[in-house]
Symmetry: C2
Amino acid sequence: MNPNILPNFLKNRAMLTPNRVAIVFKDKRLTFKELYEEAYYRAGVLTASGVTDKAYVGFLVKSDLYTVISLLALQIIGAKAVLLNNRLTVDELVYQLNDARVGFLVTEPVFDLVCKQIRGQMPALNIMGKQDATSYTEPIEKKIIHLADTCTIMYTSGTTGFPKGVIQTYGNHWWSTMGSVLNLGLHEKDAWLCAVPLFHISGYSILIRSIVYGIKLVLHDHFEVDKILRAIEKEKISIMSVVTTMLHKIESAVEKSLPSTFRCMLLGGGPASLDLLNRCMDKGIPVYYSYGMTETSSQIVTLAPEYSTTKIGSCGKALFPAQIKIIDDKGNETSANIPGEIAVYGPNVSQGYLNKGKSSMDGWFHTGDIGYIDSEGFLFVLDRRTDLIISGGENIYPAEVEGVLTAINGIIDAGVVGEKNEEWGEVPVAFVVKEHNVLLTEETILNICKQKLARYKVPKKVYFLSEIPRNASKKILRRKLRN
Amino acid sequence: MNPNILPNFLKNRAMLTPNRVAIVFKDKRLTFKELYEEAYYRAGVLTASGVTDKAYVGFLVKSDLYTVISLLALQIIGAKAVLLNNRLTVDELVYQLNDARVGFLVTEPVFDLVCKQIRGQMPALNIMGKQDATSYTEPIEKKIIHLADTCTIMYTSGTTGFPKGVIQTYGNHWWSTMGSVLNLGLHEKDAWLCAVPLFHISGYSILIRSIVYGIKLVLHDHFEVDKILRAIEKEKISIMSVVTTMLHKIESAVEKSLPSTFRCMLLGGGPASLDLLNRCMDKGIPVYYSYGMTETSSQIVTLAPEYSTTKIGSCGKALFPAQIKIIDDKGNETSANIPGEIAVYGPNVSQGYLNKGKSSMDGWFHTGDIGYIDSEGFLFVLDRRTDLIISGGENIYPAEVEGVLTAINGIIDAGVVGEKNEEWGEVPVAFVVKEHNVLLTEETILNICKQKLARYKVPKKVYFLSEIPRNASKKILRRKLRN
Ligand SMILES: Nc1ncnc2c1ncn2[C@@H]1O[C@H](COP(=O)(O)O)[C@@H](O)[C@H]1O
Ligand SMILES: Nc1ncnc2c1ncn2[C@@H]1O[C@H](COP(=O)(O)O)[C@@H](O)[C@H]1O
Ligand SMILES: [Ca+2]
Ligand SMILES: [Ca+2]
C-alpha cells in the first residue's frame, strides 16, 4: 500500500456522510452531497474552459459559498489554487500572478475594475467569473489524491519584501488537520465558524477540516460582531477561528458568557495581550492560543485548555505530529528558557516556495520568529520574524513598504515600524529622509503608496527625519524608530 | 520535511500531557509521564539484555500493566514485538518463534512450564521475565519514528493453515488511529476500556489510541461482565471494544441502560446477529459495528452511529483514509449489491507478511471474505475468508485443524466446520474418515489435538464418516458437512 494515497477528500466525505450539513452561508445550506455535486458541476465548467490538473488557477474572490465551490472544484480536477489576498493592488496582484505562472483567474464582478487593469498587464490571462457557465465538459475526476501533490499556493513575504508562493500540498493540509483534531478533539455536533478570509490559511484550513471531519462550516464573508454572536447561538457553533482584533470585539460584546455548545476560540495569526486573554478567561470564553504561519499550513503550536490558566501567554506545545526547537546564531539548539530563532518540523510544514527550490536543507523550517521554550516544553513567542507588523490579522512586511517609499523621487531613505493601535493591534507608520530642498508632503507620499500597496499596508503617518538610525552593518534600528 | 517522520508516540505524549491519566490496571493508575518513565526504565533493562532496534522480541504474556510497559519499552528502543497468542500450544508457539526468527522472549511465571518446553526446542532463545531486572544499560532512544518501520508482528492463518506473521508498521497503526478518530470522534474525557487481549490487534490498537489521543486506557486482564459494568460506571468509560460474545453478556447484564458518559461500543472481530444488534438498540447501547482484520491494523469499515437503525447488519463504510471494493472471480469490481471478494486499500493496510514478500501486487489486499456493497456504499459481510471459524473472538482456520487430524495415524481424511453455539458464537466440530479396521476413538483423537492445538481450536465433537464430501477439484464441501 502506498501510505501517501488517500481518497479525494470531498468525494469521500460526500460518500461517507452525504446528508450531514456541510456548509451554511447566509440563507444557503448545503449537505456534503450537495456541495460535492455543486463542486463537480463547477469542475466541469472549469474543464470546459481549459483548466487541467496541471493548471495554476488564481483566485481573486470574496469569501462566500461560490468561492468554496470553485476551490473544491479545483480539488476534483487536481488543479492548484493560487489564493490571492483580495485587498492587494493591481501591481501586487500582477506580481504574484506572474510569479506563479497563473493561466486562469477565477473572480467575480466586484473585482471587474481591478481585473481590467490586470488584463492590461497580462493579456494572455484567462479571466473567469466564478458563477459564469458558458459551457460544460465532463471533468476528469481525481478519485484519489497523492499527499505530495500541490493543493494551494499562498503568498507571504520574507526579509526582502518580495512575496514568495508557499506550496501547500494535500499532505500538508491533511496533517495539519490531524494535528488539530488530536488537540481540540472532535465532537459529532461540531460546527466551525469561519469569518477569516478563505485566501488565508486560517480560512482555507477550516474548509479542509470541515470536509475531513465531516462537520458544518458556517461561513461569513466579513466579520461583524453582532452577526457572529447571533450565529454562534443559532447555528450552535462549537469552534471559531479568530485573530486578536476579532477576539477583542467579541470579548467586549459578550455580556455574560457564550452558549454551552461553544467550546473553542482558536486564536492565531499574531500576538495577543495577557490582558485580553485574562478578560476572556473571566468571561469563560475558552481560548486556544496558537502559533503558526502560512508555511505550517495553519497552527503548529497550540495551548491545550488544561494549561490556559497556568501558562497564560504561552502558545503551548507543538501539535502531535510536529516538532519545534529554538536555535542560536550558530544553528545549535538552545537550552530551556534561552531565546533564539524558532524552528519547526513536521508533515504539515511546507517543503518550500513555488519556483524557488526547497525552503531548507535539514527539513527544519527556520521561521525567523524569536522565542523560547520553557523547561516544561511551552513555547513563548517574543518577537516576530524580521519586524513583521500584524494589523488586524494581515501581515505587513516593513521592507516591502520601505521599497515603495524609497522608489519615490526625492526620498533617500525610509524606515517602517508598527505602532500600537486599539482597533488593529498595530498599524504601520513611516519615517522618511527627503533630498535637500525637495518639496514632498505626507499627502503626496501616501497617495503614491495607495497606488502601490494594499490599503492595510499604507502607513498611517509619515514622519520626516534627517537620518534613519542604522547599525554598523546598515540594518535599520527599528527599536530606535519605535521610541 | 519527510512526511513520514513523527516524534516517538509515547515520549511525545508524555511531553504534551504529562499529568493526564494514561492507564488504569486494577489498583494501579499511571500518568503518561509515569508510564513513559516506567517504559524507559524497562527499555534500559532490555538493552542490558542485548535487545537492539534490530531485534524481534516475542511476547508470551497476559494483558496487564507490565505487559503494556514492556511493549512500550520496545517502541522506545525501536525493537519489534512479536505478539504471541498465549493460548497456543508449545508446537504452535515454536512455529511462530522460528518463523519470525525471534531471539528474545518476554514472558512471566505462569508460562514457566510452556517456556521450559519451548527452550527444549529452541536452546538459543533468550527468555526474560517481564518484571525481572538484573542489570540496566541506558537505552538508545528512538526520539523520532519512521512510519515505514515495523512496530509489531501478529500471526494469522490463511487457506493453507500455516500461520503467517502480519507486519504492522508504525504508519499502519497511526493511520488506523486517524481513521478511527474521524469516525468515532474524540472527547477530552474519553476513556477506553480494554478487555480484549493485547496480543490481538483489537487490544494493541487501543494502547496506540490511548497514547496518540492522550486518553485513559482502562485495562482488564480478562472479561468478567460484572467487573466490566462496574468499571464503566466508576472509571466513566466512554468507549469499549468488544467481540460478539462479550456484547451478548453485557446486553444481558445491563438492566436499564449504560451511564450517559458511555458513548461507543466498538464491536468487531466477527459477525453479529441482527437479534443482538436490535436488543442493544432497545437498551440504548450505542454499538458501532465494524469489519477489520489483523492485516488492516484493526477496524477498516465501521458503521457510523447515524446509520445504526437504517442499515442494521451492515458494518458500514470504509474509514476516511481507506477504500474498499468488491471483486469478482476475474478481479473486476462488481456493481452495487453484487457479492464478491472484499478487497481493501489504505495506509492502515499491512504491506505483507514477515519473510514472505508483499501480500499483493496492486496495493489492494484481497481479504478472502465475501460480501457486497449496497447502492449507498454500505458493506455487508456474507461469508468469512476461507471457512474461518470464529469462536469467542478467536480465529480457527479449518485447514490448520484438518492438518493435525490427517497427521494422526489411521485417519485418511478430515473436514472441520463451525457449529453455532450460544456462548461462543461458533465452535469447531470435526468429521473424519478412518482407515479400514482401525481402532480410533473420539477421545484418542481429541487428546492428540489437545497436544497440538490451542484449546479453543480443538473440535468439540468428532463425527466418523465414510467419506468427506468434496467437489470435482477436491475442495471440501463444507456446506454439506454443516447440514
Ligand atoms: N502566537 C503568535 N505570537 C506571535 N506571533 C505570531 C503568533 N502566531 C503567528 N505569529 C506571527 O505571524 C507569522 C505568520 O504569519 P502568516 O503566515 O500570515 O500566518 C509568524 O511567523 C509570526 O511572526
Ligand atoms: N463484521 C464482521 N463480519 C463478519 N466477519 C468479520 C467481521 N469482522 C471481522 N470478520 C472476520 O474476521 C477476520 C479477521 O480476523 P482477525 O485477523 O483475527 O481480526 C476477517 O477477515 C473476517 O473473516
Ligand atoms: Ca497572518
Ligand atoms: Ca479475530
